[in-house]
């Protein structure tokens, strides 16, 4: 009913094309997260949906309407900015009611809607304050409140939590998730943060240089990435990659004792590949091996061993044992072959069964 659909959407700034024809369907009520490295076009895409950037080509539909060239105010959307973008000279209540006031709603109605939104976000005690007198978390909450008041079909968030400190971020994350559950509107959310993406999304869209790399549920992306980029991008600490070569139907990786014999549709003999192993899929074999221990970090509950492969590649192993911090010596690695991902070295495509 009020999903968002992008059809071959293109954005050019002058001569530079930064979005290269994106197709995407976000269903009504879905929580969709855009992730990707800096500069990949997340914000641009979001701002095109918001109508803050002209769409160069393609079409954008919200609900049943083609809004490609509609004014922002007429798209039935609300946006929450990274910088909050609160009007510093208005009180919280005025901030939240501003959109309605501009659209000529009667005072009583505005007051009622503001009260309602304040109620949802527990902002009542702050309604009379100016933004300057609020903490970062409170400001972000007001920014969300402002979005709610307008009762949009679609909420857009551009890295809304990245200006908050770690603790607050966790709290606000939960708040937004709750909000989504309560009002059930479609939400599109841009973030840099692994954890936000993994925990909040119904659907993650991984962008890279203006193209979509993969779309899917968080655990699908984690468990079954389409390519090396997605595999490396999702999961923290990142997946470890080791270069190898297809030889005699198996994969030979320098440093590993034996060639890997995996039930996959391997590319032809001699093809360069990379194998991927998540840090928590690895175990240290203290007896012997080719991996130099650079150092170890004990964080209390978990420890990370920083190893270096004979080829110079770094490998991180997660363990719940305490390690000696200084490092030194060499070790081997153990893992379940089922945890190994294989990618072609040339285009990074996943080698599947």
């Amino acid at each position: 009913m009020s999903g968002v659909e992008l059809q071959n959407v293109v954005k050019r700034f002058g001569d530079v094309e930064v979005i290269h024809g994106v197709d995407l369907k976000v269903d009504h009520g879905e929580f969709c997260v855009f992730v990707g490295p800096s500069g990949c076009g997340k914000s641009t895409l979001l701002r095109m949906i918001a109508g803050l950037e002209e769409t160069t080509a393609g079409a954008i539909r919200i609900g049943d309407a083609d809004v490609t060239h509609a004014e922002s105010a007429e798209r039935g959307i609300a946006m929450v900015f990274q910088t909050y973008a609160l009007y510093p000279h208005m009180t919280v209540a005025e901030n939240m009611g501003f959109g309605l006031k501009m659209n000529g709603h009667p005072k009583a109605e505005i007051a009622a809607k503001v009260r309602e939104a304040a109620d949802i976000l527990k902002l009542e005690p702050l309604l009379k304050r100016k933004p300057a007198a609020l903490s970062g978390g409170q400001r972000q909450r007001v920014a969300i409140g402002r979005a709610i008041t307008r009762g949009p079909q679609v909420f857009l968030f551009d890295e809304p939590l990245s200006n908050l400190d770690a603790e607050l971020r966790v709290e606000m994350r939960a708040e937004i998730a709750r909000l989504h559950r309560e009002i059930g509107a479609t939400m599109i959310y841009v973030t840099h943060d692994q954890v936000e993406a993994m925990t909040m999304a119904d659907k993650i869209v991984v962008l890279r240089a203006g193209n979509i790399e993969q779309v899917g549920a968080p655990m699908d992306l984690y468990d079954d990435p389409d390519n090396r980029f997605v595999a490396g991008f999702i999961g923290s600490p990142s997946m470890n990659f080791l270069a190898g070569t297809v030889k005699a139907g198996a994969i030979e990786v320098p440093g590993l004792e034996s060639a890997l014999n995996l039930p996959l549709a391997l590319p032809p003999e001699g093809t360069k590949v990379e194998i991927g192993l998540r840090p928590n899929a690895l175990k240290i074999d203290a007896e012997s091996g080719a991996f130099k221990v650079d150092m170890a970090e004990n964080l209390g509950g978990v420890s990370y061993a920083h190893l270096r492969a004979p080829s110079g590649e770094r490998v991180i192993v997660e363990t719940d044992q305490r390690l000696s911090a200084a490092g030194g010596g060499t070790v081997g690695l153990r893992f379940d072959p089922a945890d190994v991902y294989v990618f072609r070295a040339d285009d990074g495509a996943r080698v599947r069964a």
Binding site: A50, G51, L52, E71, S72, A73, I77, A78, M79, F81, T83, A85, L86, Y87, P88, H89, F98, G99, M102, N103, R146, R150
Partner: protein, 310 residues
């Protein structure tokens, strides 16, 4: 890789042979302040006090000064010319404020990114760089009875030309118009830079909220331009109260004293050809200073608040 003992052991504990005695952090600020403070004291602060002092004397600059207490002020209270000047100062103060909205208007007009806009901005700013003497001459020419452009235009419209500078009812407005010209340019540049730093995200948020045009200006942009407006206000007030140059150049206070302002009247009384009433002049200056003090105090108060806020 190992590190030489030179570094790890270090010598910073007893740093190099000290050549000069180090300037102590307690004394340093006073030494840095001394020359500037001295000049400022001699030429600004002490003279202010002396002026107040002189205002209690009758003194022509030649004969010995002679204490008369508050008589100068008493005379001021009964001096038509003083009231004319005061009234004109108020008119200046009020009308000069027009520079602020007009400056804003031009700034909004010019705040675009089309080709050559930088040149346009510079040219619009031009009047501010020009000396008030030149501005005064330009406008005298503009108003000149008989051939001035303005005179011609009014003659063309109304049959009878208007000699602005000869008309006691118009002269002050005529001078203020001349003064507004550079002042508008000044406010314009302040607003142009102010507009540059208007937070784009707030504009975008407001756009999403459906604010457009005048509403956007009133509710979102103007509040953000408050610092620029404040500065514009300060410089405009100061400009209005200091309005000496134009009066002196364009009319010398005339016709028959109707375009005097306090600052000019003071000069006239104290130093002009028919003046040399230093005490009386000083008294006028003190009144002007008192008026200005209201604004200065306001400004300082705001600065003080900002400093605390830091």
């Amino acid at each position: 890789m190992s590190v030489s003992p030179a570094i790890s052991q270090g010598s910073a504990g007893q740093p190099a042979p000290r050549k000069r005695r180090r300037l102590s952090r307690k004394l340093a600020p006073w030494l840095f302040l001394a020359p500037g403070m001295f000049m400022f004291l001699i030429y600004v602060l002490i003279p202010i006090g002396r002026s107040v002092w002189i205002s209690f004397y009758q003194w022509d600059g030649l004969s010995p000064a002679h204490w008369i207490g508050l008589e100068n002020y008493a005379e001021l209270l009964d001096d038509d010319a003083f009231y004319t000047s005061l009234k004109n100062n108020v008119i200046w103060l009020v009308l000069y404020m027009l520079a602020i909205p007009l400056g804003l208007f031009i700034a909004l007009f010019l705040n675009q990114t089309v080709r050559g806009i930088r040149i346009y901005k510079s040219l619009f700013f031009f009047p501010f760089v020009i000396s008030q003497v030149v501005v005064g001459l330009i406008f005298s020419w503009f108003y000149a009875p008989g051939f001035g452009l303005f005179y011609k235009i009014t003659e063309w419209f109304g049959g009878q030309g208007v000699a602005v500078l000869a008309d006691e009812n118009l002269v002050t407005y005529g001078i203020i118009a001349a003064g507004l010209w550079p002042q508008i340019a000044y406010c314009m540049i302040l607003y142009l830079t102010g507009l540059n730093s208007v937070a784009p995200d707030q504009i975008e948020a407001a756009r999403l909220d459906g604010a457009k045009g005048i509403k956007m200006l009133w509710y979102v942009v103007l509040p953000q331009l408050r610092p620029a407006t404040f500065i514009a206000l300060v410089v405009t007030i100061i400009g209005a109260l200091r309005s000496f140059d134009l009066v002196s150049i364009m009319t010398s206070g005339g016709p028959y004293g109707s375009s005097r302002v306090l600052s000019y009247y003071m000069y006239e009384q104290a130093l002009s050809e028919y003046g040399y009433r230093m005490g009386y002049g000083a008294a006028i200056a003190v009144v002007l200073f008192a008026i200005m003090m209201i604004f200065i105090s306001g400004f300082i108060w705001k600065m003080w608040r900002d400093e605390r806020g830091l």
